[in-house]
Amino acid sequence: MRHIPEAELHAYLDQALSRAQAVEIESHLAGCASCRAERDAIAGLRDRTTALLATLAPRAPLARPSWSELRRRHQVETARRANLLRGAVWAASLIGAISLGYSAHSWRDAVEAANAPPPGVTMPIQTVATATPPRPAQHAPVRTVASRRPVQGIEVDTLDTAPSGPSGGVWRSESLERALAAGLTVPRVAGLPVLQIQVQEASSPLVAVDQQLTSGEMVRTIEGPASEMVLLDRSAVASTGPEGAGASTVSMRSGNRMLLMTARIPADSLRALLARIKTQ
């Protein structure tokens, strides 16, 4: 009579055999003392292995985050991957907010601004607003240059060291192409030259875009999670000139997203620009 192979006894004790196979083995065991002894030895070996491995259990108590905590992590990662999609959703909500949230006056400004002058005609954005008198020319010496190309000598502050505190990440510069390729939301006014783009990694990225108006003034647009934006250092927001003198800032929120624009132009003009923002 053939004895039961060792591996089969392991499988039998591990309850890895079919019922038919198990019955076959049991009937053999009933009449074979040698196989019973082998079975007992393997059962002992099995128990010993389990006991030895049990000593390797971590002794410190386990930290087990709640399932909702893991879900949140999963959502953050999914959100990162779905940046493009989120940008589209944001743009849609922005358009909704603008059409609902601003006065007819702002809206008219927006229409005027959208009907921007053709290249070659000087039309500083300041003239759109009537509330604030035009500022002296020396504050914006390039205003008369009627060009859509970036004006040489314009001040562009980099944000490298500006923000600090809890959100104190490092800003890095990106080209428009690379930022878009990376799926970032790049908030910008259509038709204005982009001077630079800076990105800060936070829970989701903050993106700051500097653009030049036909007047030569620089307008900075920052988009990011509201929780991070409110922590931004003032100098990161209003660095369009010495201490951001004369700068207007407008901002809007949509859920946890926040969009902020700043420039040394009247607030009404800025709002008009906000209406022309593109996030894609």
């Binding site: 060792e6 392991h10 010993r48 292995t49």
Partner: protein, 172 residues
Amino acid sequence: MADELEALYHSTYTSVVRFLYRRVWDLDRAQDLAQEVFVRAMAHRPEKPRAWVFAVAANLARDEARAAMRRKKHLTLLANDPIVMPASEPDAQEMVEQDERVASVHRALDELTPRDREVLLLWDAGLSYPEIAAQTDLAVGAVGTTLARARKRLVAVHERLTAGHMDDAAHS
């Protein structure tokens, strides 16, 4: 689907950590990796979540071991670590003995071939023969053979190590 994963998380998180711990020997790291496994599971929505979770855990452990090897930090045996023993600790002697026991099992496990070790640890983590077979590319029939070899070797090496240790103790 989500409920199934959540139930799996509650029932197997400890097993997954233990499985990973025996591969990476760092509890914090093992927990990080275990959580990573479940986060990935949420995105991946595997058909057979339990087998999938252990397969991914094994892959992460393998990557981790390779990285550790590169850092030349791998296989730092517990026995070689200085044991900090507070003088006032009443259980100090017991702790030393516990550490030595762990070190010898750890070393015995390291002497198995990678495949034997993986099969043994997967079995110990609660996977069935078919699940182990699917994960290791073994035939289901070969799982028993592999487990038989791994168990014998683990116990034999461990006995050799602890016998040697007792001899050392007698000579000192």
